[in-house]
């Protein structure tokens, strides 16, 4: 009888712990990528299209898709177009984050709508001989510059889906280029495949590809950060 009471107590304690954990565990917003990337460069430039019709966006908290070019380091500057589940249309944006946004606040600005069925040039570029200044350009217009990090660094062009993998994407990345140490823009290696995270895939090569929501079978997987 005593043992029985003890085991009831144990079960109740265990349930309390599990319940406590369930209450304490917070929802985190997952990200999925379709990615074309290269290490040790001085800039990235892509002509990024919006689809002709608004993609389906599941109406859940913080449901977004971003299609961008990025400086990939612990601090970053990024530009591209964003679509939130509550947005009526995509917006061109720039984001700046210093040291994973831990010390300085994250800067995020949406400038103007990127009309459906159109394409724009998005560039992130190191400013030569400045030590650490990187700038973002949208359709040739300089938007933001910050003292971020030295060059060369990793750069990428990517579609990024946040919060739910039910969101559909269909984004064309054309003429994806990196800037080399001689300040010359060069196409990404067209023999390299584009990486996608299930259920999102990239079709084409690193220099010209489109991202879409596919199925999870037989897809090359990327290690999630």
């Amino acid at each position: 009888m005593k043992n029985y009471k003890l085991s009831i107590k144990a079960v109740i304690s265990l349930l309390s712990v599990v319940l406590g954990l369930l209450i304490t565990i917070q929802p985190t917003f997952a990200n999925w990528y379709v990615l074309s990337a290269i290490i040790s460069q001085y800039g990235v430039w892509a002509n990024i299209s919006t689809p002709t019709t608004r993609p389906y966006m599941e109406l859940v908290d913080n449901s977004y898709q971003y299609n961008h070019v990025t400086l990939n380091s612990d601090s970053w500057i990024q530009t591209g177009w964003a679509l939130g589940a509550t947005y009526s249309e995509p917006y061109s944006y720039v984001e700046v984050c210093i040291t994973h946004c831990t010390g300085d606040p994250r800067f995020y600005r949406e400038y103007t709508t990127h009309i459906l069925g159109t394409k724009r040039d998005y560039i992130v570029e190191y400013t030569p001989n400045t030590g650490n200044i990187w700038c973002a350009y949208i359709d040739g217009a300089q938007k933001e510059c910050r003292a971020i990090t030295s060059a060369p660094e990793s750069v990428s062009a990517a579609s990024e889906v946040v919060a739910t993998s039910q969101n559909t994407i269909y984004t064309i990345f054309q003429d994806v280029r990196f800037k080399n140490s001689s300040n010359v823009w060069q196409l990404f290696d067209s023999s390299w495949p584009v990486k996608g995270e299930c259920p999102y895939v990239g079709r084409g090569n690193s220099a010209n590809f489109y991202s879409l929501r596919g199925s999870c079978a037989y897809m090359p997987m990327m290690v999630h950060p």
Binding site: F29, W76, P105, E110, Y111, K143, A158
Partner: protein, 264 residues
């Protein structure tokens, strides 16, 4: 017309013109509306509007005349969110200067200290297609700030019952002839998950409130956890669609992050 009448008429004309000019100077710094200001007038207008909002300007000068780029150095407040908001106010006033007849193309900013003259350095550039150009300046609101704040309080409490609002106020702009308001909220959240979705709710409610003429241009939100720690320091500029955020680890607002897995 007699000579006396003629002189009287001329004097009246001069008085009226002087009055119009003075009115222009009072409302728009040194530039009359619609007429282009000189670059120096643009700089002093920027400094004056920032000072009126409590932002301490160390130096302000013309960096480039055509197109006009102004360089400002601000004082360090020793609070990173306040520094970022002050920089944004400089960005905002420069971008919005076109509304009073001053075209500023960009701003260079910094909050220098002796050890690092490039601290908080950055540049922002403006374009006629940007969001602030697509909107009309706010007019006089029919709703008092107190009444609007109470309404927002009720809506937010209903929409997000897990968040307890400690304080909510709507502050009027300190600038003459400007009718935009700043929403200030201090709230308490039981966890980071609830805090993470609060900013998007606030942005949505700002849009609906403004449809009813509430005139919210900016929002400053602080969310505190049960331990009394600030887990989210958040700023939103509705007219410039600009966000600044400082979040506790694990609190994700759904903004993009570059993938870390590519570092081979």
């Amino acid at each position: 017309m007699s000579i006396v009448k003629k002189h009287l008429f001329t004097a009246l004309r001069i008085t009226a013109l002087t009055g119009i000019c003075l009115l222009g100077l009072t409302m728009f710094g040194n530039a009359a509306p619609g007429s282009p200001a000189t670059p120096n007038q643009a700089v002093s207008q920027l400094v004056n509007t920032l000072k009126a909002q409590g932002v301490e300007v160390k130096t302000a000068e013309i960096q480039k005349i055509s197109p006009l780029i102004i360089a400002v150095a601000l004082s360090d407040t020793h609070d990173s969110m306040t520094n970022a908001v002050n920089i944004h106010l400089a960005r905002r006033e420069a971008a919005m200067a076109y509304r009073s007849g001053v075209e500023v193309s960009g701003i260079e900013f910094s909050i220098p200290d002796a050890a690092n003259p490039q601290k908080w350095w950055g540049q922002s550039f403006f374009d006629k297609n940007d969001s602030e150009h697509q909107r009309q300046p706010f007019g006089i609101s029919a709703l008092s700030a107190e009444e609007a704040a109470q309404r927002l309080h009720d809506v937010l409490r209903k929409q997000s019952p897990s968040i307890t609002i400690g304080q909510i106020t709507l502050e009027e702009s300190p600038l003459a002839g400007r009718y935009e308001r700043t929403l200030k909220i201090t709230a308490f959240a039981p966890n980071v998950g609830d805090a993470a979705v609060y900013p998007s709710l606030i942005r949505q409610e700002i849009v609906s409130a403004n449809k009813g003429g509430v005139n919210i241009a900016m929002a400053k939100v602080k969310i505190i956890n049960p331990k009394g720690e600030i887990i989210l320091d958040y700023f939103w500029d509705e007219e410039m669609r600009t966000e600044l955020s400082l979040a506790a680890p694990g609190l994700d607002l759904g903004r993009p992050n570059p993938p870390t897995s590519i570092k081979q």
